[in-house]
Structures are given as structure tokens and as C-alpha cells.
């Protein structure tokens, strides 16, 4: 099966600072890929590069990039896909709806523009979309302004907007950050259900490993502008190859079981910092001199891929 979205060697510089340093990501049809990492790892920037939504003054380059077989390197191809073939669910739902227009107006506007519907057809379709994101009183929500709706409700509306263009891929950037847990659970379930109902694929950007475990089929773990480890969710959570991913999962797991978390010493590097050949080496419990001197090789084991000199393969595991 060939990937729906496949990008290789994505590099982004903003005002001369390297933000992404060769990101490789693929999203297969029908799957939900979780992109996890800490602040500054480049999760959102990766999504924004695909959608051509980077801030002004950014320089983007790909080694290769394709979406559904189409070459995606030209800016125009990415711009045309945005909203149509790729839907986007933002982090701050209220902030990304226009406060001075009614929700229904914004949604039917998107439908008219993306699908060329007439006024009446757009309204009917908008109400259907609101129903499909499980809003029980779509007529009222259609007439509401964003400030009249709760955060969870606004996020449902944003998901409806993302669905408006009948996309093949939906990218959601921290869609539940700032929502209460009970609402978060509903939004995540909705996201997962819609992906399978509408036969699309999903890319879910988050820092929450609980969220990933809940809804994602595969995971890409990012660190300092690179994807350092990918694999199925089950494999990554069982025993991630890359020491960073491994420690991250073990911290989350030990907190969850009420045990004392292991520490990752130090902190995430800032863009522009001098990096070792492996950016994680200074914080890594398995680092040796080669990690500082040579680019880490791509290892393929246990159904995972990782950039690491000293991956945690099962024979080397010590827990």
C-alpha cells in the first residue's frame, strides 16, 4: 500500500534559524498518525509546511513530498489542497473562528467556496455537517456567535469546517488542549469515528501520550526538528527503539501507575543551539562518543524505524 502523504527531508528555516532539520513522515490511507513531541520539536511546523501556512519569512525545502500520488513540492499544489483535500483542525477553536460572524455563516461560506454550493444548498449541508459532528441542536448552533458556545462546541464546529471540503486527510493540531477531560474524551472519540466514517486519514499532533494511545494507529516521535522514532502505537508503547521516545513513554506510564517517574535530565534545545550529531545525545542515558561525532543511522527493527546509534532492541533491553 502506498502512502497518502509522504514527505522526505523537510527542512524549514524561520529567520535563519533551523526549525525542522529533515523531517520524514508518511500517513497511510485510513490511518491516524500521532505526531508527538515536546515544545519546539517541530510538530506544528511540520503540519504547517504541508498546508503552506508557515509564518512569513520562512524558507521551506523538501527532498520529496507527495500527496495521493501528486507532487506536493510546488507551493501552489499545497495551497490548492488546503481545505479541499486536507482539512485542518486548529488548536484554539474559539480563536480560529471569526468572532463577528455567526457560526452558520462561517460554515456555509466555507461550503460555498470549497464545494461551489448555492446559498440554500450550503445551509442545508452546513446543518448536516453540524449534525454529523453530533451537535444535537444544529439550528441553534447555526445561528450562534462563537462566544455563545462552549469550547467543546466550538471545536465541534471547527471539525465540521475541516470536513466541509470532503478532505482525504484531516490534520488536527492539539485539538483538545485546553478542553476539560470529559469534553476531550468526546472530541477524540468524534475525531476517530469521523476518520473512519468519512474514509479519510488523520494526523493528530499532540504532546499527550494518553491521547495518542487512545486514538492513533501509528506514532511519529519528534525531537529538535526531526522525527527520531516511528512505529505502530502498540510497538512504541511496548518498547520504543529510540531512547528519547522510550523514556517519554516510561515517564507517562510510571506517572499513570502512581510510581516515581524516571528523569530525562536537561532540557529541550532551542532553535539555533549548537547540536550534537544526535540532538538528544547530551540528555541520553545510552549516549557514547559516536553519538556526538557521527550522524545516527536509521535502524529498522521490531516494526519500528529510529535514528539512533544505540537503540533499545529487545536483546539489549534492560528495564
Amino acid at each position: 500500500m502506498s502512502a497518502l502523504l509522504e514527505l522526505r527531508g523537510l527542512e524549514v528555516e524561520i529567520q535563519g534559524l533551523p526549525i525542522l532539520r529533515g523531517v520524514d513522515i508518511e500517513v497511510m490511507p485510513g490511518e491516524i498518525l500521532g505526531v508527538v513531541g515536546e515544545t519546539g520539536a517541530g510538530k506544528s511546523m511540520t503540519a504547517r509546511a504541508v498546508l503552506d501556512l508557515l509564518p512569513a519569512g520562512s524558507a521551506v525545502s523538501f527532498r520529496s513530498c507527495s500527496f495521493g500520488g501528486q507532487d506536493f513540492i510546488p507551493v501552489k499544489a499545497r495551497q490548492e489542497a488546503r481545505g479541499h483535500r486536507i482539512g485542518f483542525v486548529p488548536q484554539r477553536p474559539r480563536g480560529s473562528l471569526n468572532p463577528v460572524f455567526r457560526v452558520g455563516h462561517q460554515l456555509s461560506d466555507a461550503l460555498r467556496r470549497l464545494r461551489g454550493l448555492g446559498r440554500r444548498a450550503a445551509k442545508k449541508e452546513a446543518l448536516d455537517l453540524l449534525r454529523s459532528v453530533r451537535i444535537t441542536d444544529p439550528e441553534r448552533v447555526y445561528r450562534s456567535f462563537p462566544y455563545e458556545l462552549s469550547g467543546g462546541m466550538c471545536q465541534r464546529v471547527c471539525i465540521a469546517v475541516a470536513l466541509a471540503g470532503e478532505p482525504e486527510l484531516i490534520i488536527a493540531d492539539e485539538p483538545t488542549t485546553g478542553l476539560d477531560v470529559t469534553i476531550q474524551a468526546e472530541i477524540l472519540r468524534l475525531f476517530g469515528d469521523l476518520i473512519s466514517e468519512h474514509n479519510t486519514a488523520g494526523m493528530l499532533i499532540t504532546h499527550d501520550l494518553g491521547v495518542v494511545a487512545d486514538v492513533c494507529d501509528r506514532v511519529a516521535v519528534m525531537y529538535a526538528g526531526r522525527v527520531v522514532n516511528t512505529g505502530t502505537t502498540a510497538e512504541i508503547y511496548r518498547e520504543a527503539l529510540h531512547p528519547y521516545a522510550n523514556r517519554l513513554v516510561s515517564i507517562a506510564a510510571s506517572l499513570d501507575s502512581g510510581g516515581a517517574p524516571r528523569e530525562i535530565p536537561g532540557r529541550v534545545p532551542n532553535p539555533g543551539d549548537d547540536l550534537a550529531s544526535c540532538a538528544f545525545a547530551p540528555r541520553c542515558f545510552r549516549a557514547e562518543s559516536d553519538c556526538f561525532e557521527q550522524e545516527p543511522p536509521l535502524v529498522d527493527a521490531e516494526g519500528q524505524l529510529a535514528f539512533c546509534h544505540h537503540p533499545l532492541t529487545s536483546e539489549a533491553v534492560s528495564r
Binding site: 477531560v181 472519540r189 487512545d214 502505537t233 502498540a234 508503547y237 532540557r267
Partner: protein
Amino acid sequence: MTAAIDTLAVRDLTKIFRIKTGGFRQSDLKAVDGVDISISPGRTLAVVGESGSGKTTLARLILRLLEPTRGTVLLEDVDITGMEGAALEEKRARMQIVFQDPYDSLSPWQTVGRTVAEPLLLHQNLSKQQAAEPVAAMLERVGLSPEHARRYPHELSGGQAQRVGIARAMITNPALVVLDEPTSSLDMSVQSQILLLLQSLQEERNISYLFISHDLTVVRYIAHDLAVMYLGKVVEAGPAARIFASPRHPYTEALLKAAPRPDPAHKTEHVYLVGEQPSALDRAPGCPLYGRCPIAEDVCADTPQELADIGAGRRVACWKRT
């Protein structure tokens, strides 16, 4: 001396805000409604609840940053609710707070050293020179170097800034520290560092923590005791481990079920509460969860159930589960 004087004992604490609801109409918003909690020395009480549950208002009332409508706050067996002037200032040194956003809670114009020294200058009348030594020692204790004293907040990472916030709170040697979501704006790897630091400080100094959070994963790790709030009321309280193992209040149950866990084999169950949290304005007299609760009966609509003892140190406010 008897061993068990609670660091903090809160009785019937209530805060009602008068809100204008258009024209000349006013409504009452019970942000905190008859809360009873206590913390003994060296223990952590976590107050959990969703936004609007009143947990931050509760913390502010306890610290006397807000005046309660009703109720008392005992800090080390002394009623501080009506206290004023020098007596209150003295008590303020015994209760400190660490805020959620480390950058927002540090003055951008002050050096780290000045920020951490401030409580000493204020509460213990030390001179800047006298404060320098304890400040340096405190910075080292929280994992910074004395050299950080000359830096400004913008030169620090999020984790370092939060360490400064902790140093500032700890420097007066308080009995009670309120931790208001102290790790929720931090990255995972840094979050665990801060939790471990807070824990070792508690063991070393026998401090009581009031830990406010919506993140049940963190709470599961750090809390000894738990109070679950919903719309201003404590609906369930008791030892954290027992509540996590078998929640009794339907709201606690929903909260625990909804929290995603970092285990692909565990799928979050469908949340069984109906709809979303209603407005806290002009509430009906019955159970705050009535209308969303799957097991509610007629009695729940208009008869409030106060927290009732169910044994093993646990209290629940629910007609069906007591």
C-alpha cells in the same frame, strides 16, 4: 505536644459572587459552596475538577487573596479569616503559592535573585545583603546555580522559571504551599523533574501541599488525598489511592474514565455524563450533577446531599452511593 494539628483546616468555606445579568437583575454565582477540607503536615491534598469547578477560587480564599462570604480557614490551628495587619502578614509567610504559568508569575524587570529574596525582605525584614546567602542556597536546592540570581526571567527555560517560582515559595519556610497547576504548562520531560523536586522538598521540610490540577495522571502520582469539585462543591473526598481504585461519585467516575491513559490496550470509555457543565448561576437546590447524571432519581433534583462519611476516611455527596 499532640502530633496531629492540621496545617490547614477549612470549614464551610463559601464564596458567592454577585453577577449582573442584564439591566438591574443580579444573580448569585456560588463559586465555592460550603467546602470542608483539611491537610495534615507533610501531606498533599489534590483538588481536582474541570474549569469552573471553583478550585482556583478555593485556593485564593485559603490564601486570603479573596474574602469569603462565609466560613473559616484555620492555618496551623489559628483562624486567619478575620485577621488583619501585622498578624496576617506573619501568617502570609507561612502560606505560599506556586503559579501555573512560571513566566507570567515572575516580574520581567526583576532578577531571579531579587524575586526569590522578596519574601525575605517583606516578611523577615532582612536587608538585601542578608538575603543573598539564603537565596543562593535556595536556588541550589531547587536545582539552579547561585549564578542564576543575576539572570532575568526571559533568559530562563520554562522548567527553570518554575524552579524560581518554587524557590520563591519555599524561602520563607512555609507550612502550606498551594500549587496551582504547577506542571501543566511544562513539557513532559521537565514535568517529571519538577514533580520529583516538589516531592523531595516536601519530605525534607514536612510541608503540606494543596495541589490544584485537572491532570489526573499527575495527581495519581503526587497526591495522598483527593477532593473532587464540581460546580463549587466537593462531591467526593478521601485517600487518593482508594478513590482512584474505586470512585463512588458518578462525577468522579466520569472524570477517571475520561482521562486518557498512556496504554494502547486501554481505550477510554464512552463518557456517560449527559451534555456539558451547566452555568453556575442560580442553581437548583439539588445535586449539582442532576441533569447530567446517569443514575439520578427524583430525590436528586431538589434535595441536596451533603458529604457523608462512607468509612475508610472517605466522604461522598450522592444519594445513590452512600
